[in-house]
Structure formats: C-alpha cells, structure tokens
Amino acid sequence: MALEVIRGNAITKGAVNYASLHRSRIYAIAGLALLLLCVITITIAIGSSDIPLTTLFNAILSKIPFLDIEQTWTSTIETIIFQIRLPRLILAGLVGAALAVAGTSYQGLFRNPLADPYLIGVAQGAALGAVTGFLLPVAWHIASIPLLSFLGALVAVGIVYLIAKVGKTLPMTTLILAGVALGAFLSAITYYLMIASGDKLHGIIAWLLGTFALTSWWQVAVVTPYIIVGIVIIWLHARPLNVMQLDEDQAQQLGINVERVKLILLIAATLITAAAVSFCGIIGFVGIIVPHAVRLIWGPDHRFLLPLATLSGAIFLILADAAARTVLAPTEIPIGVITAFVGAPFFLYLLRQKKRAIF
C-alpha cells in the first residue's frame, strides 16, 4: 500500500547497468574456474620427473569408464600422477580455497582488514595440538598430529567463544581480544614444548610452516567433507555478510538475524580452517592476502567475492605448492615460505596500483 510512488517508475538518469557489471563478475568466476583446471593440469605434469601432456591426458581419460585407452606409460608414471601428485594438489587446492574463504568471511564478519582465519585462536590451538601429537610415539604420528591439531583448533575457538559471549550476544571486539590473549597463552605452551622436544624440533617447525609432502588420498577424503560443506554454508550467507558491512544495529534493522549469522559463519569458518591446517600445517598469508587481492580487483560484494576467493585461493596454493616442490628440488621449501615470499610482493604491487581505500 505504501510508497506507490517508489514502485515501477523507470528512470534513465543515473541508471547503473548492474546487469552488465554482474555479468562481468560471472565471467570472472568462469575464467578463474578454467584457469584452475589449467593450473591443475600443468602442475601435475611438472616436477622431479616431467610428464608429457599427451601422456597425462591419456592417463586421465583412461580412468573414465567405457573409454578404452591402451596404457602406453609406465606404472611409475601412473603412480606419480594418481598416487603422488593428484592427491597432493587437490589437497593444496582445497586448503587454499578453505583459507581464502575463511579469511574473507572473518574480514567481513569483523569488518576488519587485518582479520585472517587464524585471528581467534585456530592457529595457536592447532599448533599446540600438533606439537603434542609430535611428542607422542612416532608410530602414532600419522593420526595423532592431524587429529590433535584439529581438536586443538576447535577447543581453542570454543573457549574463546565462551569467554567472549555476553548473554545471547557476541561482541566482536571482545571475541578478537579473547582470541589474541588465549592465542598468546597457547603459544607459550607450544614454544616450551618445542624447546623440550629435542630431535623432533625440525619436524615441528616444518609442520608449522606448512607442507603438502606425503599427501595421499585418505587425507583428501578426510578433509573434503568439512571443507566443501563449510564453504557452501559460507557462500549461502553472502547477502547477510554484505548487509553486515554496516554496523550490527543497521543489519538487524534490515532484517538480518545478526547473532545467528555470526554464529553460523564463525562455526563454518573455524571448521574449514581447522580441517585445512590439520594435515598440512599453519600455512600463512593465503587467508589474509587472497581476500584483499580479490576485493581490490572485483569489489566488495560477497556474492562474488566468496566464489572468486575460493577459486583464487585454490589456484594460489596449488601454484605455491608446485613452486615448493620444484624450485629447489629435490629439497622441498616449506609452503608458508613460498606464500609469503611470492604473495607479499604481488600484494604490495596491487596496493600501489589502486591508490584508494582498500577495505
């Protein structure tokens, strides 16, 4: 009944062609998806033994049922492709996607450009759990390190949440401060355990910097459900995240159930981050830089920002991992070193290019 004046009237002056703007962002999503496929293909092919692309395509096609392709390649190459490189780069892609999406949603949720997936205690909890895992008998490591790291991350964030909660509301500043304080406490324990760990120290530091060496399919199978479900849940909350770039009062007045959205996003982002770091360690930088880079290039609308960050994070980490295992082969460089060493200059370049507010 009200505001008939506002309904319908077509106005041409100042008309913004949003349809075309949205179309260009959808093309960007499609383009990045295509790029992801190319990157996967190329990074399977390169490494300590390079595989010709024709062999690679035939080997992949041969896995499709009812397609009869004669095996002209050795079983070694078969193993390298399907048992070593493919699981490794799929895990790298999933972890990159997870960290980028978690970072985007934390930055949006906290309205803070410094937010990253490790802001509220995930990393410190995971590190303490993993280091504890390292101190257990070596035979248990394969299960104890990821499991304890995953649980450590969840317990840390759970404690932070309970400390910060006031009645039915969750003040975000308190949440950040509680996360930083608990993180410092957990790190103190971790550092002590590291000093006391003796000959295990090297392995611990390598884990803390992140690595995808020795990835096999079972690890991919374990983390995939968490990461896929978490990312989808976060994607579905793109519109509320947009509205929450206003303050919480305004978001409520626009119909958003702010406390519920905060809780859902915190749980989803924490789960995917915890799952991501559990096998490959605390890979830094992806979760803070990829969201900013995507925002700089394609703008702040989370409906596009989230899928674009997912794809960019996957591409970035797959490339970083390829560099980690090839640049100084046969020595592997810790992936956290690559992400910061290559990612930081690229980001600084983007900052220089766009001389305006970035958040």
Binding site: L3, I11, V16, P300, R356
Partner: protein, 267 residues
C-alpha cells in the same frame, strides 16, 4: 488503519533502564516528533521500535502485532530506520548501499531483479542522490551519506519510517529538503513517521505532534504550541529561552540568548 502503539514500555541496556513506562501512539500520515535533551532516551525509543533492543516491560504493537515477536525480516518490511551515526562500508557504491534496503524483500537466496533496481533508483531520485549512484561511499560527504541512508530506508518500502536526528549532519538547505521529503512521504503515502530532533524550531515547523522527553519519561505531549513553551523548556533543558510565534505561520519559535547579551540588556 495501521497504527504503532507503545504500551507502558520500558527500555534500556543490560544494567540501565533508559526509558521508563512510556505509552503513546503514532498514526499514518502524521509527523510525530520526539524532542528532549541529550541522554533523554530519544534514540533508545527508535531502537526499541525497530527491535534492536527488547522492552524490559510493556509491549510495542504494530498493526496489533507485537514487534518483539515478529521475525526480523518481516519487521524490516514494515519498519525502516535512518540511524544517527551509521557505519557505512567505504568501498560500496552509493547504489549498492541503497540496494541493501531491498534485503528484507529478497531473503537469503533470491537475486535482485530489474524491479528492485527501479525501486532503488526512485528512492535515490526522491532523496536527490541519483547522481551519486556510482560514487564510492568513502568519497562522499556526511550530508550525502545521510541522504543515502534515507534513500535506503525508502527502498525498504516501509509502512513506518523512524528518523533518528535526520538533520544532524546537514546544512540548512538539506535540513529543509530532508524534512520536506519526510513530511511529503508521510502525508502522501500515509506513512507512520517518528522523528527525533534536537532542533526545537525544526520540530515545531514540521511535526504535527510532539513528545517531550525528560529523563526517559514523557514530560508533555501535544501540538507544538502546547508542548514548546518557556516553562517546559526550562524544566526539561534547564535553559532560559524566549518563544515567539513564527512570523509566517505562528508556530512557536525558540530564541536563545547568550549570557553576555542578557548582561548587556540588564545594564
């Protein structure tokens, strides 16, 4: 007829009650103004009606429905707020900001359509912001941002519009323009409008009815002529003022006198 009714409502924050047991009604097409000194609870009433805070006692009814029991989404389809000092995302364009007003109508999954864009454009025309459509919020002045939040409220297509100090950041030209707009919408569309105002003269000129708050209670209520008088202003604000009828429409106009001029006069 849609009415907004507050019944013995008390409102406040965890430890402090700000509004004590107030009762009033707002009707469509009527400009209802809330005046009172800083801290008297004007903004708290706005937050209560938009259910950012829940009454500690009493009820707020909109069309017979209890506001606290409605879903946020349904409430936002009926009630739009123009807040006093809103945080606005600097990177959003003006158009994207106003488009957020469509949120309650779209829900979680629906994508906005051409009709949503048309509503947004019209809201921006009414508030004289259409030329800013592609500018980023970070580049805009306080007055421009204020008009954009009004446009966003209009894009909600509400039945009730709550304006919290809508003229606070505006120069005299946009003060008049903004309140003219609010008054027109209220009259022509039959909107319920509740406006908090610092400026007693703007309140007298634009509001059909005024509620004067004093320490979270209603001091007096009625037409500007009945509410704005020397004694009431002294009681509530503790200020000595002079009040004359406006030369054009006889509405009460408050004049202040700085201390030095009263000293000069008495000599």
């Amino acid at each position: 007829m849609l009415t907004l009714r507050l019944q013995h409502v008390s409102l406040g924050y965890t430890k402090k009650t700000v509004i004590h047991d107030i009762t009033f009604e707002a009707l469509p097409g009527e400009m209802l103004g809330i005046i009172g000194p800083n801290g008297s609870g004007k903004s708290t009433i706005i937050k209560g009606i938009s259910h950012v805070i829940t009454p500690s006692s009493g009820h707020i009814f909109l069309d017979g429905l209890n506001v606290a029991a409605m879903s946020r989404e349904n409430l936002a389809k009926l009630v739009a707020v123009v807040p006093q000092n809103p945080v606005l995302p600097e990177l959003f364009t003006a158009f994207e900001l106003v488009l957020l007003g469509r949120t309650p109508h779209l829900g979680l999954f629906r994508y906005e359509t051409e009709s949503d864009y048309a509503i947004v454009r019209h809201a921006m025309q009414l508030t004289n912001t259409i030329d800013l459509a592609e500018r980023r919020i970070g580049e805009l002045s306080g007055g421009e941002r204020q008009r954009l939040t009004i446009a966003r409220a209009l894009a909600q297509q509400p039945e009730v519009i709550l304006l919290d100090e809508p003229t606070a950041h505006l120069d005299i030209n946009y003060q008049v323009e903004t309140l003219d707009l609010a008054q027109n919408l209220c009259r022509q569309q039959g909107l319920i409008s509740v406006t908090t105002l610092h400026d007693l003269n703007l309140a007298a000129q634009y509001c059909d009815r005024l509620i004067l708050l004093h320490n979270g209670r209603i001091h007096s209520e009625g037409t500007p002529e009945n509410v704005i008088n020397v004694q009431a202003i002294k009681e509530v604000y503790g200020a000595d003022v002079t009040i004359y009828p406006h030369p054009m429409n006889n509405l009460p106009t408050t004049y202040i006198a700085p201390q030095r001029s009263t000293v000069t006069q008495s000599k």
